[in-house]
């Protein structure tokens, strides 16, 4: 399943809700690791929103646990509704053969890397995007910014990878990076994620709920200030060229 324009994925641990719960979502990211009976939920799912199956582990170290986790993810990938599987770059680097097995179930691969503490340098993020793209169809990188320079480094890397023809998803996390969830698509990010908490849980302060994120993204899509208006309003000034410094 090729993503042509940026898509909005609702992250959830319960896909058995009524369809109207998903509102503006183009995709559902099903967090199997947080779900009750995930395979059972998938077998009951009869919605028409394509699913991204994600099954994170707390530690990559434990081989047995990791195998069980991947087996479960593999079972998920057999369902027709599952169009994408999200696998961590760290996982595929040590088991690159799994990508072929997953592809036989007719799913595309999101290869992801997360750094919850820091943002690597621009050059390192570039390399991570390239590595993710080597294994998968969409290269996803989420990093935690210490300051605004870090959010710009992530956006720059998203932009540069997009210009190279890589399908990417890029997020600068935390409060400082929050706006990258809204404007990332302008730099080429193909996926935005909006968490859906359980129905009986209020949205936590500061979080961008699905509907709000959807409308913010829509505004940035439609409300480009067009050139004619700019030149009409901002200025009728001609500035001499060749300002010397």
């Amino acid at each position: 399943m090729k993503i042509r324009e940026s898509a909005l994925a609702a992250t959830t641990n319960n896909i058995t809700k009524e369809m109207d719960a998903w509102g503006a979502a183009d995709l559902l990211e099903f967090r199997m690791d947080k779900a009750a009976n995930p395979i059972n939920q998938l077998s009951k799912y009869n919605g028409n929103i394509p699913i991204i199956a994600t099954n994170r582990t707390r530690w990559f170290g434990g081989q047995a646990t990791d195998t069980g986790r991947l087996d479960s993810l593999f079972s998920a990938s057999r369902f027709d509704a599952v169009k994408f599987v999200d696998i961590e770059l760290e996982t595929v680097r040590s088991k690159s053969w799994i990508t072929h097995e997953f592809r036989e179930n007719d799913v595309d691969l999101i290869i992801s890397h997360h750094d919850f503490d820091n943002t690597p340098s621009r050059e390192i993020i570039d390399k991570i995007f390239e590595q993710c793209a080597r294994y998968g169809d969409i290269a996803k990188v989420a990093t935690f910014p210490q300051d605004q320079t870090d959010t710009l480094a992530l956006l720059e890397a998203v932009n540069a990878a997009t210009e190279k023809g890589i399908d990417v998803a890029g997020i600068s996390m935390g409060k400082i990076g929050s706006h990258t969830r809204v404007i990332g698509h302008l730099y080429g990010s193909k996926l935005s994620y909006a968490p859906l908490l359980a129905d009986d849980t209020d949205y936590a302060p500061g979080q961008i709920p699905l509907e709000k994120l959807a409308s913010l993204i829509e505004i940035t899509k439609n409300n480009g200030v067009d050139d004619q208006v700019i030149s009409m309003i901002e200025d009728e000034v001609s500035v001499p060229k060749g300002l010397t410094l």
Copy 2:
């Protein structure tokens, strides 16, 4: 008048409107060059929103015209309501003595540079900000992007100048740069501009009207995704450190 937080300026050629026309504006940018009887309008103005007086010329070349324009701007700066005067970098570079004259009228100076065709390199924008700051209190740079790399260059320069302690306003113009009007404050930009068309003119498509820009900026101020929520929702995953590339 020191701007501590980012302020929203409504750009207008008519300051004789009723006060409620200005809505969320913190400042009015009065475009004297487009106004009918600007000095007369200033003498009648009894609002409490501080004014930025701006008087652009089509050409900087003509000395006589420029002198008349600056005389008019100087007259404007005598009014109590006028707290800022916007002067082009190109103008003060050739007539640096005028900054002292203006300051005697108790106004702060916004020194501005516009490039309506291109975005200079990051290093050149840095230098333009520094030059503007040498003459004025707020250094304003508006550039036209050819692509997303250009909008990031402008944001990077805004961020870097802010980190150096310079009060800046930075805008990447046109459709591609439109979102910088919304998120610029997150990188330190002290002024956003929203055009107010004449009351009998509809907003042109693509433009960000005052009230919408105000609410978008407010959302980006309040809706940071807080760290706790991120770590709760986005992941309970621990990623091994030291990913080798």
